[in-house]
């Protein structure tokens, strides 16, 4: 049975540029050499160039001249299902964009195509659909009640890991908002990262507050997986954030950072600056507001998160912070900066293909091992978790560290 008329993929979700991109690909094969997912799952239809060719054929069979003259090529349900699977077996890391001779903006293209297939009722994959349903219902992917979102503050104070209380920005207006995101709010291990950032910002004299239970999910995962509700949900957040009277938003989550910094302004204007915590800490160090005095003697390697590096050009700030920590010796991996190998956590891949994510992260861990470093650090909580999975998969002894832990150790000595 072929694809039905009601599953016609709308071109309106894509821009003319993105439709030109489908023709710009000559399947030269450059992307094949760099794709972190094809490296671990050698299905040829995963190669970005092949994915573009297949999707172009499907779209032209529904919208092109041949579709009008000859009712288009027939695609079987199995063929369409595989195409959709291939579209989602990708982290949208953007590596293919950086090596593409035609400069096709692949990460944006995959997201727009996902939106189009979701609108046609063909995506996302069942696991991802369930993830998104939970996210929309609970405002987080962990099925945690919203009233527990701010519990980390009293808990941190009680445990002595958070050194100072944090004002609720809705009750006590502050110029800076510290936006945690879901993982840091509910996952105890990642919440420690948020507490380190908060301690460092207090130490530097930054006047900031949090949203507590009023903080919503950034809803970035909706965009990554093509959910059409993203724009409406994002506007709710933008209106809330714009109403706070802040001049700066700092977030420790690379995914939230990309969503708020890059996606929100395309939907509605935002009236504040957005920083990832590592950029902000780098700025505080350079302004002399934070002194990294305690040595942390370790040889380590740095993993560039896709959402900070390739997607937003933040390569130098984390490296400057690392170099500011006394005792740290940085050894770089083979693939860094624009060519950093993705850990597999982005774009909803983890939800759809957890085994592929583990394999991709294991590849990155093996690369880190080849440097001889004792630890691999990253400033992204999602990559931090993904690399931990990779280390377990690769049965590696390398330690996976969050960059903020090193800064915290160097500033506070504990």
């Amino acid at each position: 049975m072929g694809i039905s008329a009601k599953n016609k993929i709308p071109l309106s979700c894509l821009s003319p540029r993105q439709l030109i991109e489908l023709d710009a690909c000559s399947r030269c094969g450059e992307c094949m050499k760099w794709c972190p997912i094809y490296a671990v799952d050698r299905s040829e239809d995963l190669i970005p160039g092949n994915r573009i060719a297949a999707l172009k054929k499907l779209l032209k069979s529904q919208h092109g001249l041949r579709a009008r003259l000859f009712a288009g090529d027939r695609f079987s349900k199995e063929q369409v299902d595989r195409l959709i699977e291939v579209l989602y077996e990708c982290t949208a890391c953007g590596q293919c964009h950086f090596v593409c001779p035609a400069r096709i903006d692949t990460a944006e293209l995959w997201e727009a195509l996902r939106e189009a297939v979701v609108e046609a009722g063909l995506g996302p994959l069942p696991n991802q659909a369930e993830y998104l349903r939970v996210l929309k219902k609970y405002e987080n992917p962990f099925k945690e009640p919203q009233e527990n979102r701010g519990l980390w503050v009293p808990r941190g104070l009680e445990q002595g890991t958070l050194y100072q209380d944090l004002p609720l920005i809705t009750q006590s207006p502050q110029p800076v908002l510290f936006y945690l995101g879901c993982t840091a709010s509910y996952n105890p291990e990642i919440n420690l990262v948020a507490q380190w950032v908060a301690n460092l910002m207090h130490k530097a004299g930054v006047k900031f507050g949090v949203l507590g239970n009023q903080e919503n999910c950034c809803r970035g995962k909706l965009r990554r997986m093509g959910d059409g509700d993203f724009a409406a949900k994002a506007i709710e957040n933008i209106d809330l954030l714009n109403s706070l009277g802040i001049n700066t938003l700092v977030t420790n989550c690379a995914g939230c950072y990309k969503t708020i910094f890059q996606d929100y302004p395309r939907i509605k204007e935002i009236n504040f600056k957005v920083y990832h915590a590592i950029e902000y800490i780098d700025m505080l160090i350079r302004e002399g507001k934070l002194q990294l005095v305690n040595p942390v003697p370790v040889q380590l390697t740095y993993h560039d998160p896709c959402h900070l590096g390739r997607h937003n050009g933040i390569y130098d700030a984390p490296r400057r912070v690392l170099q500011a920590v006394p005792g740290v010796e940085l050894v770089e991996m083979e693939r860094i900066r624009q060519n950093s190998r993705c850990c597999g956590m982005g774009g909803g891949l983890k939800m759809g293909f957890p085994e592929i994510q583990a394999l991709a992260a294991a590849e990155r861990i093996k690369e880190a091992e080849r440097t001889g470093a004792a630890a691999i650090v990253t400033p992204c909580p999602t990559c931090f978790l993904g690399l931990q999975t990779g280390a377990a998969k690769a049965e590696s002894d390398i330690r996976v560290k969050h960059l903020m832990e090193l800064v915290n150790l160097s500033v506070f000595g504990q």
């Binding site: 003319p16 023709d23 040829e44």
Partner: protein, 264 residues
């Protein structure tokens, strides 16, 4: 008479040529119109900010004319593609001159320069050079595609067909010219047509029937028309779409500024 002697050594069915080229061109125009219609059915925004003309111009020179992005991936990768790119542009320009010669008055300076003047020699030299560039680039690309090893490129019939089309076009062009030179008393001017002259040496002394040359000429003309018609419906459409994408991206990428060092 041109420095190459007469062109009238075998029969050329010009009426067939005109018909087949018209058909090829009509299919090309219809295909491109359909492509444009397809592109403009996209309703999302192509540009997030105002287009940056400066960035687009710089990148046009660097990545379309000089193809620096290929160089970044390796010298031979760049060489393959730039040979095909400039060779193809050269052949296209020479074909345009050929069409103009059928239109302009026979007593014009342009006509005289390219038929009996030194322009004819340059025309022949440029034709052989451009053809050789396409031949070398396409052959190297084809070899690269079929190189065995873990990094070998996934190659499909459409990839082979596109490169094979190019190779066949240029080879039949050279063969035609070589047979014509072989059938004509040698003149020093032949050296300008250096590839065909070399090939003519290989068939020297053999009688090639005029009917065979007519058939080859017809085949070459049909092949060019088919190639033109094939462009909008094949991966060859990238010759228009890729440059468009490169200049659009230059404007957008400037916002992020980490892909093109020279735009900073």
């Amino acid at each position: 008479m041109s420095p190459f002697g007469t062109d009238l050594i075998y029969y050329k069915p010009w009426l067939f040529f005109i018909i087949i080229q018209t058909i090829g061109l009509t299919i090309f125009i219809m295909g491109m119109a359909d492509n444009l219609n397809f592109y403009y059915r996209g309703k999302a925004r192509s540009f997030r900010n105002n287009p940056s003309l400066g960035a687009m111009i710089k990148v046009f020179f660097n990545e379309i004319l000089l193809q620096r992005q290929f160089f970044a991936r390796g010298f031979f990768r760049w060489l393959n593609h730039i040979l095909i790119f400039w060779g193809f542009l050269g052949l296209l320009s020479l074909s345009a001159i050929g069409v103009l010669l059928k239109i302009v008055p026979g007593d014009s300076a342009f006509f005289e320069f390219f038929t009996v003047g030194s322009g004819y020699l340059y025309y022949k030299f440029a034709g052989d050079l451009a053809g050789l560039m396409v031949l070398a680039g396409a052959a190297a690309a084809l070899i690269g595609r079929f190189t065995t090893g873990p990094d070998s490129i996934d190659t499909r019939l459409t990839d082979t067909a596109a490169l094979g089309f190019l190779l066949l076009l240029v080879l039949t062009g050279f063969l035609l010219e070589a047979l014509r030179l072989a059938a004509t008393p040698w003149a020093p001017a032949f050296e300008y047509s250096f590839v065909a002259d070399f090939m003519a040496g290989l068939v020297a002394g053999r009688q090639v029937p005029g009917s065979l040359m007519t058939a080859l000429w017809t085949f070459h003309a049909t092949l060019t028309a088919a190639f033109v018609a094939y462009i909008p419906f094949s991966k060859m459409v990238h010759i228009f779409a890729a440059p468009a994408e490169i200049v659009i991206n230059a404007s957008e990428e400037e916002l992020r500024g980490d892909l093109y060092g020279y735009l900073r």
